[in-house]
Symmetry: C2
Subunit: 199 residues, 2 copies
DNA sequence: ATACATCTGTACCGATCGGTCCAGATATTG
DNA sequence: CAATATCTGGACCGATCGGTACAGATGTAT
């Protein structure tokens, strides 16, 4: 153990609180005062622990991904169900998160994607967000390619097209949730979308 | 004509410029300095002509709707084509706007919808945006109800579900464009979506 | 020509922005 | 204990925020 006083606040919990504010208000809409208020620490502690606003934001994005982003993918790999059902459950899992009453509405990545253009986000953060979206496309494309090889997907479907379609739908669901749509509303949209799926 | 000096700048053109900045940078990401710089006028003139930042934003939204928002709906009423083709053209018209190289990427209404939560947008502006989205749902629902009455739509389709689905898709396309998708990318997504449509 | 309304640029307002600095409190190690 | 490393709160920084006040230029109608 190193010599000296230990940090007296829970860094992970403070990061979570910061993530929630960014999620709710966006990057330019969140001030350091907002952050220190909700994190329950002062500016000096914030800078010592997290660097600056930009680095804190990047860490908040990372936290969001791990806590609220990657889990939904598991639904795609529950091979005891057919592909259509797995895709539906994947989207339903996302929709549940988007409308969770204990969390801000919508999706932090989607909100941040809208903020990329112009000079709203720091360059590094913008690149970070772009890379995350690209990674999602990559993962989904790979997934559907393998499903196609196993014969779960009609030959005339392009894996990449489906992946792009799904990410677009996710974005749309996120903004709809932001606009006040309930879980039931989103479920209806998902069922309509999946019902038409020709997998 | 009233007595006194006339306005020496083109108010409509200045409003257009303001709209473009809000579109690009969002409400909290746009400062009065950004606005006066691009509008080519000083603060006094801005306040005299448009009120304040919030009122200017509301007028910019109005301008955007008239100039870039309502035209797409016309595609739905070109009755010489079948319903599926009209819906496709409606979405393609939107996608063209979302990726127009002469305009900011994405959609001002969609961006603003993401900014509603939290205290990012003034209350009046937020209500305004919500009302616009509701109006879109209303228009689309009415449209599909009439198409259903004419027999262009299967009975088991809910007009409201399709309307909600389409708005969600529009949001998704807008964020995708913001994320750097090209017209070709969006066209692929639209074709995938429409191709599965069971109208 | 005169009166007047509106425009224009600038200086200025208090508040807040992100960020830094430092003195002192606090806790840990040896 | 003493030495040390880190935390804590508050004061402070220059810059910018949205917004206002005002003096003077400009142009219109009579």
């Amino acid at each position: 153990m190193t010599v000296g006083r230990n940090r007296s606040f829970d860094k992970d919990n403070a990061l979570k609180k910061a993530m929630l504010v960014f999620w709710e208000n966006g990057y330019p809409g969140t001030s350091l005062t907002d952050l220190t208020n909700v994190m329950g620490i002062n500016k000096s502690s914030l800078y010592a622990a997290f660097g600056n606003k930009e680095e804190l934001f990047n860490q908040a994005i990372e936290f969001y991904l791990n806590k609220h982003g990657v889990a939904h993918l598991a639904e795609l790999f529950k091979t005891e169900q057919n592909l259509k059902e797995r895709v539906r459950n994947y989207l339903l899992s996302i929709a549940n998160m988007l409308t969770n009453p204990d969390l801000p509405k919508g999706c932090l990545i989607c909100n941040s994607t809208s903020e990329i253009a112009g000079h709203c986000l720091p360059d590094n953060s913008a690149k970070n967000i772009n890379a995350i979206n690209q990674q999602t496309i990559f993962t989904l494309t790979n997934f559907f390619e393998k499903e196609q090889q196993v014969g779960n997907l009609l030959e005339d479907n392009s894996s990449n097209s489906i992946a792009n379609y799904l990410l677009t739908l996710q974005f749309g669901l996120a903004v709809s949730a932001r606009n006040g749509s309930s879980m039931e509303d989103l479920e209806e949209v998902i069922n309509f979308s999946i019902g038409q799926f020709n997998l």
